[in-house]
Symmetry: C2
Subunit: 505 residues, 2 copies
């Protein structure tokens, strides 16, 4: 581990030098396209989209037919050539090269085939981590505490020194909810051990062993699709239809007007209304005999339509949770990892004690949750499964974090994000009948189309011109570029997007 740090330092210096050639002094262009830096550019990124066919092209259609024999392919956009994809560009199997502003549903942190990640694969010391997946909860590898410390704990949210790894976002939230329920019942139970009645009834899914506790969530929220998570997800009916659920309270999420600073009074009123409803629901569900053990919320509702709320809203909500003895769980699965210009979106709230639990996945390459000390289960095997994460993903995460630090990517995101949001403001002023409600934090931006049909048409047209975007909510377009999306890429995107909108008019 010491040895590999030295090797890294050499790379660090070399790449910083390369970085300087491209120019960091506020010039509105990117080293990737600077003529002076033609060589390193090729290694990391292409110089723009390049389209050969409409998308999906003939090869993608052929493969879709093949896969259609095995799975429902209704959600598949096209098939990819990941070998040829680089940096911000995703290449498809028909040779189309697209500027990727959706990044596998926001899960590619530093672009495709980043040399730092390829280097992880080239290191023979890492081989056995890929080949021998351990049952982390019982037989962890020697370097596990060190790896976790240098990766996940080095970016731990304020007030948290403990982290539980998991394999994906849904498992992270499911297990975070379990930790919350266990913590809540232990509080109620005091120092007493569980009764025989509790132990026996738990085996047949009945109270008091399986108590009727609840998690309060928000309309428009998304926290995953497994049955526990799904009971807190309220973004689209098709996600929930036909699946049994829990009778858990659902509070309204503020519907704010944008830009936020032009509607501070109206927005504050809306937020106050929602917070009042939260307290009412907590009281109501306690009276119903289904007390709220935890509150779960995204810092920006992503799947639900990129809905923002003010730092003040979150601070008050956190206080309500504390007042009523509910754990406050901030779900950063989509917002975490730097896209908002801070590593965690909740850092924008400016709190010393922002949460009791923070869950993550996607850009962090595998899942998990940080938690306060008191949320750690009292006994082993209460939060447990076979794999409990994947150390090979943590190897990549360590490198991702090194790249973020070495290349100051959070600053870059803040800069690109400003350019992106300003561009979106200009476009919605230019095309007021098509676009409205531009909003964002860092490059985690969105804008609304006139209606869903318009939105979907714009997404397809942009794709045929070489720009990959995602939809969310009813009629929103969401921007989820990698952290290596620079001002240069913003300008490239804005030009293409402008063409799409001009043709749409």
């Amino acid at each position: 581990s010491c040895h590999s740090l030295v090797v890294e330092d050499i790379f660090l210096q070399r790449e910083q030098n390369l970085g300087r050639e491209g120019g960091r002094e506020g010039i509105a262009c990117c080293r990737y396209v600077s003529k002076a830096a033609a060589k390193p550019q090729v290694e990391f990124d292409y110089d723009g989209p390049s389209m050969k066919t409409t998308v999906p092209g003939p090869r993608s259609k052929e493969l879709m037919k093949q896969l259609g024999q095995i799975q429902n392919t209704g959600a598949i956009n096209f098939f990819c050539n990941y070998e040829e994809s680089k940096g911000n560009y995703l290449v498809d199997v028909d040779g189309n090269r697209m500027l990727d502003i959706y990044t596998q549903i926001s899960s590619i942190p530093i672009g495709y085939n980043h040399p730092a990640l390829l280097k992880v694969m080239a290191n023979p010391n890492n081989l056995s981590t890929f080949v021998n997946r351990p049952a982390l909860g019982i037989l962890p590898p020697e370097n596990f505490p060190d790896k976790i410390t240098e990766s996940l704990l080095s970016v731990a949210p304020s007030g948290m020194t403990r982290v539980q790894t998991m394999s994906c976002g849904a498992c992270s939230n499911e297990n975070a909810y379990k930790a919350i329920f266990i913590w809540y019942r232990n509080k109620e139970r005091g120092q007493n051990t569980p009764t025989n009645e509790e132990l026996n009834t738990s085996m047949i899914n009945q109270a008091p062993g399986c108590p009727q506790l609840s998690i309060l969530s928000f309309m428009g929220g998304f926290h995953g699709r497994t049955l526990g998570c799904l009971a807190t997800t309220h973004s689209k009916a098709i996600h929930k239809l036909d699946i049994p659920s829990f009778d858990w309270p659902v509070a309204p999420f503020p519907r704010l007007q944008y830009p936020l600073d032009e509607f501070t009074r109206e927005n504050a009123e809306e937020e106050a209304r929602c917070l009042e409803e939260v307290e009412d629901l907590i009281v109501k569900w306690r009276q119903k005999g289904k007390p709220v053990a935890g509150i779960v919320i995204e810092p920006i509702q992503a799947e639900g339509g990129d809905n923002h709320a003010s730092p003040d809203f979150f601070r008050r909500l956190r206080n309500i949770a504390r007042k009523h003895g509910c754990a406050f769980h901030v779900d950063e699965v989509q917002t975490g990892g730097g896209g908002t210009g801070k590593f965690w979106a909740h850092e924008h709230w400016g709190m010393d004690d922002p949460a009791d639990v923070v869950s993550f996945s996607k850009k962090l390459l595998s899942g998990g949750y940080y938690h306060k000390d008191e949320l750690q289960p009292d006994k082993p095997y209460r939060i447990f499964n076979t794999w409990m994460g994947d150390p090979s993903k943590n190897l990549f995460l360590s490198e991702v974090l090194n790249v973020i630090r070495r290349e100051n990517l959070l600053e870059e995101v803040t800069r690109s994000g400003k350019a992106l949001l300003n561009g979106l403001y200009e476009l919605q002023a230019q095309y007021p009948s098509i676009l409205s409600r531009a909003r964002g934090q860092g490059t985690f931006c969105a804008i609304d189309a006139f209606d869903d049909a318009t939105r979907d048409r714009i997404l397809l047209k942009a794709r045929d011109k070489g720009v990959l975007l995602g939809g969310c909510g009813d009629r929103s377009i969401r921007f989820r570029p990698a952290l290596v999306f620079k001002e240069y890429h913003v300008n490239l995107f804005l030009n293409i997007f402008n063409d799409v909108l001009a043709q749409h008019k």
Copy 2:
């Protein structure tokens, strides 16, 4: 892909030749320890356990303290040196080398650091699959249909041509349950589209949109620990205590007497009793307004104590499911992948149409479920998440399947399994006050200790003598070796185990 097949063929021939040197002609020894084949042996396996300290040793204890600052370490056995582990031997951080008959809770298919898997890492064509994890449901890689066909579909259960990949066992079962609920409601709904009332109520977790359907499971069953799975898991109270659950029916699983063929009449009666109860529960829950949409069962209840039932029991249960319109879901997360001597344990039932859904994970290196055509959701995004599996694990799985075929590992497992079970019969005859109820299929064996304290003491003593075993149920010892566990290893184990028992007496 054509190219890589050619390369594989060359390797295949070479390794088959190596294999022949070791001798396959029924000699009761293993090529790994044959003097004539000393060279390849070093590459794959060690020649026996080698203990330096008691376990956990001082270095493990040090690391446990370090990790204890970050997580609950109560379940951790010791820390591992996966680099030095080989074949059937797990090496710990104190230099102890143990014969591993537990294999990371049954999840290591062909031993540690198998050369075929290391080769996957050495192939530069595979690099990008590790570095760029796709959102498989929307942007799969070009080789995804081929890879799935040559890996998962090449071992598809009888009657199934469709498979949905997932990241872990719990997610596999959660999503299989969802597919069952969707299928069941679509049957009830006929050709009609969902009503607005259904769509609207689903958003707030209420019926009819979120209907009160249930999954019938069995006492002693284990299907995972996320909230949906946990409602069907009934192996230990500590897994379920304090977690809200669903009011779903729990049937008794037959408590048979072993050896099965000495108690056919008694066991048949017990099985009939359980099947009757299953039908009663289905009727009762339908009357309650919580109809049983699916029945989930393990071919051998693993966590619950290695409880077996006869092929006849499963055939009748499958018919009950069909009769009542319930999907029949066979959970092969622990039994799948060859440990019972067939690739799927349900193949022992000898049925053309054994199930509607078969879920897997562990030895298959990532999760998923096979299903009948009609279990495929009618619309995209109903069964969906960001990653939906991990193609890099499928690369390894392809190689694992190649090794299983090339080395006839299922036959080897059957042979080793017989030797193991016969050895266990002898030991329980020799130590009747300590051991009883030896049982198994292939190397998927178990034996009961007098009580839980005896069991735990035996497990620790065996470990200090260099043999890693697992517990399950109240007082069972379970055997879960890799598929490369040969007769030679059986004999090695039996000698050590005999010593442990002799000292215990």
